[in-house]
């Protein structure tokens, strides 16, 4: 009698399991993936090299970009009290305020095509003073990275992010 009951239950279970399975539906899908990595950004700071020649009372300065990224450069001269520095106009350099700007960006390994010429002349002063044997005129040089527009043209320099380097030179 017990087994009859078992058979009934098994039969019911079988019927339910067969009828409960629903047909499966799938939609056509497709997928494809591609990947790529560019080369690395090279925006580390490398202070540009400052070279200068002194001929009589004129300094001629050349700046070289030793880094991996194009930069704009500018320079400033600091002279002692009784002396002043006059800008001798040269192609590619302009003076704005205290700074002398090189108008074109310098590519990596490139130097300024023309030299910055600065004449050092005594100032007109009332009192007499002893002219020292030698004195320093300090040239401070700054560079900022070039940012480009969509077409790849450099946009005018923004000097809020300057990288500084200075050189101490005698007469």
């Amino acid at each position: 009698m017990k087994t009859k009951w078992l058979y009934l239950v098994a039969a019911v279970a079988l019927v339910i399991s067969i009828s409960a399975v629903k047909p499966a539906l799938a939609y056509f899908t497709a997928t494809r993936t591609v990947e790529g990595t560019t080369k690395a950004l090279e925006i580390g700071d490398v202070p540009p090299e400052l070279d200068e020649d002194v001929v009589e009372m004129t300094k001629m300065i050349t700046i070289t970009n030793n880094g991996h990224y194009p930069i704009f450069v500018r320079a400033m001269a600091i002279s002692p009290d009784n002396w002043q520095v006059n800008f001798n106009p040269e192609d590619g350099w302009i003076q704005e305020g205290d700074y002398y700007y090189y108008t074109k960006p310098l590519a990596p390994e490139e130097s300024t095509a023309t030299q910055l010429k600065l004449d050092i002349v005594p100032k007109q002063v009332d009192q007499e003073y002893d002219v020292p044997d030698s004195f320093n005129v300090v040239i401070v040089q700054e560079a900022t990275k070039v940012i480009y527009d969509d077409a790849g043209n450099p946009i005018p320099d923004d000097w809020a992010n300057a990288i500084s380097n200075s050189i101490n030179v005698g007469r």
Binding site: A40, L41, G44, D45, I147, Y148, G152
Partner: protein, 241 residues
């Protein structure tokens, strides 16, 4: 005698004899001719999508970036990537593309690994008009673009037109160094851009159900038009309705 016939074995044998006798009958054959059935092959057409353009063997080629010695910040480098419906049969499909961007930099062991401290939002991808960004599914790293109209068989749809690095990478600087020297540490220096593009396609038959089942979008979503930047509620153009 009676006992003999009542024997079950005898009855069985007699019964078998009777049946055996009745099955034997005359056979007849009719003239028929039949040719061999031709085999008919059924094949369902393939359903596929491909990514074409500056792609070679599953790898994205950055031709214009490779021409420059160093990546110029702010310059829009041309990069042409399209998606194509390469289905075998006459299947139209709805296509979406998932773009994942990240920065990879060299870690201590010399391997290039994803750098999570650099934000992928500074990698800017220019997408052709006609695509819509699903804002709800997109983050800084992953952006999902949908095409609202079905793409016909063999139709190639332009997707990416360029890549640019935002100039904020130059502004993120840490000042370090000694008391006499200040050095600038650029967080993005030495980092590479890594881009992954995944194209998904779904059938247009029962388009509404297919899109809902495959991508989880019912009817409409909040989409940003890539050409104008305007956000609005957009719908798929369902073919057979």
């Amino acid at each position: 005698m009676k006992k003999f016939y009542k024997n079950p074995l005898v009855l069985l044998t007699l019964g078998l004899l009777v049946i055996g006798a009745s099955t034997v009958g005359a056979t007849r054959a009719a003239m028929i001719s039949q040719s061999e059935a031709d085999r008919v092959n059924f094949k369902t057409a393939t359903f596929d999508v491909e990514i074409t353009g500056d792609v070679d063997n599953g790898q994205i080629q950055f031709k214009e970036i490779d021409e420059d010695e160093s990546i110029k910040i702010g310059k829009l480098y041309k990069e042409n990537i399209s998606v194509k419906n390469t289905s075998g049969g006459n299947y139209d499909e709805y296509i979406r593309v998932v773009v994942r961007k990240s920065w990879k930099s060299e870690s201590e062991d010399g391997e290039y690994r994803k750098n999570l401290s650099l934000t992928p939002a500074l990698i800017e991808i220019e997408v052709e008009p006609g695509w819509y960004i699903n804002d709800d599914e997109s983050t800084d790293e992953q952006t999902v673009y949908y095409r609202l109209t079905p793409v016909a068989q063999n139709e190639e749809v332009p997707f990416i037109s360029g890549i640019r690095v935002n100039d904020k990478v130059i502004r993120e600087v840490q000042h370090g160094g000694t008391s006499t020297t200040i050095t600038n540490e650029y967080s993005y220096n030495g980092a590479c851009m890594d881009i992954s593009i995944q194209a998904d396609a779904v059938q247009t038959n029962s388009g509404r159900d297919a899109i809902s089942a495959a991508w989880g979008i019912k009817d409409s979503f909040a989409g940003i038009d890539v050409s104008t930047g305007n956000k609005s509620t957009v719908n798929f153009v369902i073919e057979d309705e």
